[in-house]
Symmetry: D2
Subunit: 316 residues, 4 copies
């Protein structure tokens, strides 16, 4: 049995997103989400949420197709990094060390079984605010006071050809702890939720119905309140952003949610967990059946069909 | 340097409160906070918050004076418990093993340097809902839908004759991590905040201006939203509960707060942190000067005078 | 052109609801909505919202079938009452004077063209709080601090065989002002919204697809905030009340809404308008086409099918 | 007895504010409140709230001193306008007709007994959105999604040498209806609240402790929710705007409030009334004694001292 007195991975580090509509996607993250551009490099722009202690949150890269690129994880210490790298190498999925970007130190590259590119690192430079100095010094940078004001990145939800294989990799090699899962009548998992510290999830795998690999279901940001998410819906309505589902409350992990598609096609969630944290070191896994899943979301809204037809990159 | 890849203490377990007005205090916790009575034993009643995975949250005990009794901490594992017990014994503050109450397993008793009684345990029974079964099985019991609906205990703030001595005990023996502190011009700490996992604080020490020991500044509960706290203020207004300060936003750790005095005289806080979590394993400590403290709370409200004159038990 | 410098009708007075499950319906209004029982009379119970200045809000009556009984309107003055009574008599829909109930003075009975029973009155006794005295004397009674805490009745939405006939009656005889409407491609109205003072609607007619008459689509209560409505959804979830739709935001009149079915089958809405008021004495009517209506609600949720299949009493 | 079946004044029209720091004040209203500049004229700029049906809300004018200029009221109809003009002329306070600004039609100028300049009009052009077209056509212009997002102007609170004289003028000549008032032990009113339609107040007079005349206590805007006001506090904190008091809940009329001083020195309030409306045509006046006033605001916060020392223009 795995010992969960310690998590070698502290949190999701940052995420690269591909977009075929670079300018519109940049407008979405910068102007509608109020993220700050901190650097540009070739076809990419690096953006940060206002209470991100590291330099950047999202690397947005122009591409033929939407989708997710490299996703990084910050280790809890140098020793934790070394432990995880050893485990990854032992799993045969290691790709070797490389330099991190934008203040991120040495990063060890690998892939999950589905082939999604990942890296793990420990060293990182803290963001130094300039004209965005916060009024309170226990905050990374000034509260923007516009748009969705996303405080921080929350989680990533991958699509994968095998939820089991990828979930087991997170559980056994990255040592994430499962919080909830959906088990189909066939015994196969439809989705599997994992977390690293007290948040109820940081990384999720859902079944890719197309059989393709390396695809993204969504990434999520965490505003502070449910009212922020209601306001976000108004902002997306006014700006012609496709609202796919919500605001509503998830049955699984009980997060209050809103899903939209950014102009490049990637699904973006805004999620709020209230004061719900997984403080229990022995938190039992919650498993949902196919029958239970049919009840829809917490307040009865049916899960939208496109949750099972839309992922990025788009495939036939 | 302490390694914070792991916390041997998972969270504050439960708190015993003394009250000279037992019936009125019971009404406050049961009827106004919507806590559920799970057991009675002699002069004590055990009450729980609706999303507490353990059996109880607060033990309320009739007494001559208000104040705080035994406070417990849950260890992250059996090994973590043993490590902390060894450290406590080495500190000379250990008092030996005793049986826990209400499903709590073997508990090791000790005191902090101020003399506050504490215990640490690992084994605990999960609460089994009966007529309070929740609609969603990832919740400990049904949402009460009345009163303040406090989801869970959040933190305890002790008064102590020496903030330094007690803070160092938490830091070195319990291995809590400091998040913020106030340093007076004299160099002495006026208050010191510690946390065990991702919450920004679980245990706090403030200077006891009276020179007495073993006193309480307040305990806090965590409702889900700031609106819950605004509604709580209306509920306390209607029920004649003394509202001491708030709703407002703390500068330190940025929690949205409301302070009231329960009928027995103990100060009770309702606190909401939004989506702010300390995810960074290297989070630097934030230190506030006497000068900065004079600015009051985040939105400018002066810190109320009685914060520095009222504690329990009351002293001359 | 009608002169809207004055409204002879001040507001919806109170509503009688029929229920085939009296005890369960009473539990819904009293325990879940936190309405107070002020009187009982035969098969009926009178309940009030906490900030209702009159004695009661809802008369709940045991019956074979769900549905709506007598609905009353309070006139703005004795002269206004007399003007409206004269107009109603001239329309041929008057039924004569009767005594009001529970402090309501002389009431003139009539029906709308669909046959829904209505009354208009001016004299009314103010509610005198006893053990529910509010802390602030500018409030009718104490804030209950439990359940949905519905502040006041908001509006009624009837079903009718002819939206036009009934709407014209409200417009011409009761002198309500239209705020919004849906016009089908055939030219017929699918729904028509009317208001008496600054609220954007008080009485609505929707097309009864069954061809039956005297039926109810829903009545609505006004909690103070959108968060109240989110909390209401949790309360209904925990208590097994069928949540039909929402929380979401209406396109029409932009109210934030939640629809549930009380145990007797009547549809109940909880609606919040924020700070949106119709202050303009010349507010133009907003007309929506069938095409626009297909876009669903404000944030994109499709209007639920049962909005066009469920009304009370139920018919084949 | 005045007949309140009809209000000849529909609502506060718009307000001219003077500022000795024009650029900073413009930044406050345009950038922090998200008001839109619709016209410039000499030393003045006209700005509008996003759901204002008329062209503008505030006329900001450079001046030596802060303070309030001309305040306008929209009549409910042409006849209502003529009735009020006749009454004003009869009171001896009329100054004659002049052209309105920015789409406002013929306006009749007058002063209240304190000498504050006022105008009344009926004709007005509706705002035509261009690049700020709203997604929903029942809204005046697009929701800005930044800053305080103030929906509309709410009320004005004047200082006056005689609360009684000015209040009687509003009551008898403008035919506003009193909602609440504070009566000092001497019998004199300290403040008097008046409303025109369902809002609980539109115009207020408070005692000017300096004996000067024509001064302003504050003007208020109405965001949609209490959360908007909490967010506003964060925005003002980050932008160095002086927060004078709140967020908190008023005892009088129960509005949730936040007071700041815009850079020019004028006090600006953000107020939310929830779903509280004065629907009762016979609403009794609520009078508060000096003793009651000492209890402070609804949740116990003492009324800030500067409420009785700061007004604009500043005087010795």
């Amino acid at each position: 049995m795995t010992d969960y007195t310690s998590f070698d991975i502290a949190h999701l580090g940052n995420v690269e997103l591909f977009t075929p509509k670079f300018d519109e996607s940049l407008w979405f993250f910068r102007d509608l989400l109020a993220m700050r551009v901190v650097a540009e490099d070739g076809d990419s722009v690096f953006l940060r949420c206002w209470d991100e202690y590291q330099r950047y949150t999202i690397k947005l890269t122009a591409s033929d197709q939407a989708g997710v690129g490299r996703v990084t994880f910050r280790a809890s210490s140098q020793e934790a990094l070394e432990r995880r790298v050893a485990a990854i190498e032992a799993s045969g999925r290691g790709l070797g060390w490389r330099d991190g970007e934008q203040g991120v130190g040495p990063s060890f590259a690998f892939t999950d079984p589905d082939g999604h590119p990942m890296e793990i690192y420990y060293e990182t430079e803290r963001y130094v605010a300039t004209d965005d100095k916060p009024a309170l010094k226990n905050q990374a940078s000034a509260f923007p006071g516009r748009g969705v004001n996303a405080r921080r990145l929350d989680h990533i939800n991958y699509l994968a050809t095998s939820v089991e294989d990828n979930g087991e990799f997170v559980r056994d090699v990255l040592v994430g702890r499962e919080s909830e899962r959906i088990r189909q009548d066939t015994g196969k998992y439809a989705a599997w939720w994992f977390h690293f510290q007290n948040k109820s999830y940081d990384i999720v795998y859902s079944d890719d119905w197309t059989g393709h690999s390396k695809r993204l279901h969504h990434i999520a940001f965490a505003p502070d309140t449910r009212e922020d998410i209601l306001k976000a819906a108004d902002i997306f309505l006014e700006n012609g952003i496709y609202i796919e589902s919500g605001p509503h409350k998830h049955t699984i992990n009980q997060t209050f949610f809103l899903y939209v598609w950014e102009p490049g096609g990637n699904r973006i969630e805004f999620a709020n967990a209230g004061s719900r944290l997984l403080l229990d070191p022995d938190q039992p896994v919650v498993e949902w059946s196919e029958e239970e899943r049919k009840k829809g979301q917490a307040w009865g809204m049916k899960t939208i069909e496109s949750f099972h037809t839309h992922g990025t990159p788009l495939v036939e």
